[in-house]
Subunit: 150 residues, 4 copies
């Protein structure tokens, strides 16, 4: 995509970040409280160890995508691993390489951190996502279980 830039999230992005992230949460038919919007945004900007970091994809000066990633320990290795949790592209910018550019920017950030192992989770039936993920990633046989409640 011509004129596509990936850059760190910054304080001035709050309104656009909120719009994009809400689009992402909508995909999962999820909502978060005002407290979560505020807390997550502050943490993304904190730069502290153990906090998510954010990247914004900008096309022609307009935010059109985002990703959130985190470094955490892995018992099997000395260096951390990088967990890419959220990834979103504006519906009207799909199919133009935004998500791929965001993932590749996370790869670069992970390399710069000395933690080249990057992973993410996706729903088995996220067909559009998986068309891309099969190119930039490798499907593993790992599936996620959650604690059973109640």
């Amino acid at each position: 995509m011509q004129g596509l830039t990936i850059r760190p999230l910054r304080a001035a992005d709050q309104a656009e970040w909120r719009r994009l992230w809400t689009g992402y949460l909508d995909y999962y038919e999820s909502k978060v409280t005002e407290e979560v919007y505020a807390t997550t945004f502050a943490r993304l900007l904190s730069g502290a160890a153990g906090e998510f970091r954010g990247l914004i994809a900008e096309a022609e000066g307009r935010p059109v995508g985002l990703t959130h990633y985190l470094f955490h320990r892995h018992a099997w290795r000395v260096e951390n691993v990088c967990y890419l949790q959220d990834l979103y592209t504006d519906p009207d910018c799909r199919g133009r390489g935004v998500a791929r550019a965001l993932i590749e920017a996370v790869y670069e950030a992970a390399d710069a951190e000395g933690c080249p192992q990057v992973y993410w989770l996706t729903q088995e039936f996220n067909y559009r996502g998986r068309m891309l993920y099969d190119q930039v990633g490798v499907k593993t046989p790992f599936i996620r279980y959650d604690r059973r409640r109640g």
Copy 2:
């Protein structure tokens, strides 16, 4: 299992911890370096934020199982989530509730931490594990992708 106790890992466990964890890594046909054994053990005992914690299952005074778990951020919530990474029972103690007791002890630790959401990843074909996981957990549609290398 009568006489089964779950307790935090401690410094005196090093030899037994190493034996158990090696059994776990063998299951995945994996090996780790001496540096990883030493680093991971030290981190497990550190009690620091962002580090894995360890639990040992003891039957008749003998370590027969272990688990490693970690609290990390989740962008969608204020509190952390708990990632249960490693879980192992000595082959000669299987089928007696050791793994279930370890998972339930992680649930209690997560509750005590105010982070009741616990999750783990397992290979789709880990049939014996999944017989238990379907009881204490809920399968999600999430699958893991890893960065493609080379």
Copy 3:
């Protein structure tokens, strides 16, 4: 798709049928012998019990898609079930409802036969196919095993 017609395969279709079916086999990186082309085509036209039947999708008088389906016994019911095996649309006609029209025509044929249960198998990673199948069908938890050879 305007001007889309679904009709039974006929003897005059041999060249176009061969072209379309070869496209389908290519998708699976498969080849069949001349004997299979000849035998399958003859069986498709035979109208005999236990043989596959074929449907052709025609757009503006030109064959652009095909499907092969079969009725076979099911031990759990008196009536037969309908197995939809092959389904193909010319690449330059995709996204215009050809595959959906073919599947729906199989449903009608199954209803006419008094065997309304229709099923098919698809690769877990056939993302484009599954986008359609999730609309006209329901994913089951059934997976296929093949005899181990050698």
Copy 4:
């Protein structure tokens, strides 16, 4: 399993066949009508082309397991393929090789028929079954979709 014999289903088996097959249907939380019991049993004994055939596993002279299999056309080959649909072992005879012996007898029947390709479908979460199937078979990436009703 000592004293284990696999032999074709016969008319005198009706009561035991019904008991075993009901156990199998119970596993799937399914019931069939009296008409289906009668029709399927008659078809299994008919020996006609296109009908299921049945095998009984006998231990010490007592039926302890069954399987139903069918030959049907495959568009990609001249010879038929063999679909193994139902497979059941009495709960008190599990773990003694009954299911394996039944599957292997189907393989022999398929070879004798000149249709060596055998396949079956199983639920992704049939862990006990899959422990055996991974030995005698190969998991494919194919999943089953059913027609959506209503």
